[in-house]
Symmetry: C2
Subunit: 116 residues, 2 copies
Amino acid sequence: MYSKELLKGTLSTIILNLLKVNGEMYGYEITQSVKLKSAGKIEIREGSLYPALHKMLADGLIKAREEQAGRRIRVYYSLTESGINSLETRKEELFGFLETLIQILNPSYPILPDAR
Amino acid sequence: MYSKELLKGTLSTIILNLLKVNGEMYGYEITQSVKLKSAGKIEIREGSLYPALHKMLADGLIKAREEQAGRRIRVYYSLTESGINSLETRKEELFGFLETLIQILNPSYPILPDAR
DNA sequence: AAATATACATAGATAAACGATGTATATTAA
DNA sequence: TTAATATACATCGTTTATCTATGTATATTT
């Protein structure tokens, strides 16, 4: 597991990107997806995930739909128009930052291509 | 300027790396160096820098040497043995995280080489 | 002479992610 | 069958990194 500090500032971007790729996901599914895709090296805690989802919902970046799964309720989230735009902006900023960071830390590293 | 949240978790690593590359630097010099190398896109605030330096000093990662510059005092910092090791560990963790992050955000991106 | 740059410092604010805790249903293992 | 674990949601308070604001003082440029 990586230091939790590294995740700061990128968690919402990760969530938005997953929603874009998969169209619709529920909370628990997001945590499992990140865990799987990162080979266990990034784990989004529920104490981080749900507040983040609620904030993005309040900010109009995502929308929610409740679905009955057996006797339990699942809340499916998907991107709004605003969320799609926000994701693009965030990814551009993030990749720009990473490019700069890598340049400072190790100038011999190859530069990342544009976020597209 | 990038979101300050993105810098969280990487600031100390940036400082340690600069000290390794340049051998010895004073605080103000570090802020200017980062500003220059990042083309103004990353600016370390003095309210972030000095507490970070003081913490790393207390943690034994860096050592300090005061030098009189005219009538003013400059505090030059350099890495300790512990700091050299810490930097290597941090860089490995950081580049590992970045690799995972990029993979999650955009699997088509090229993978970064090992941090060496 | 005034404005800006250099050079240090610290106290309090902000905000993101987390740990702990709680509730409840579903599934797997003992 | 029952105990343990996994699924699925939620919230409160804690932690901690960075920043804003503020302060002091010297040096340089306008």
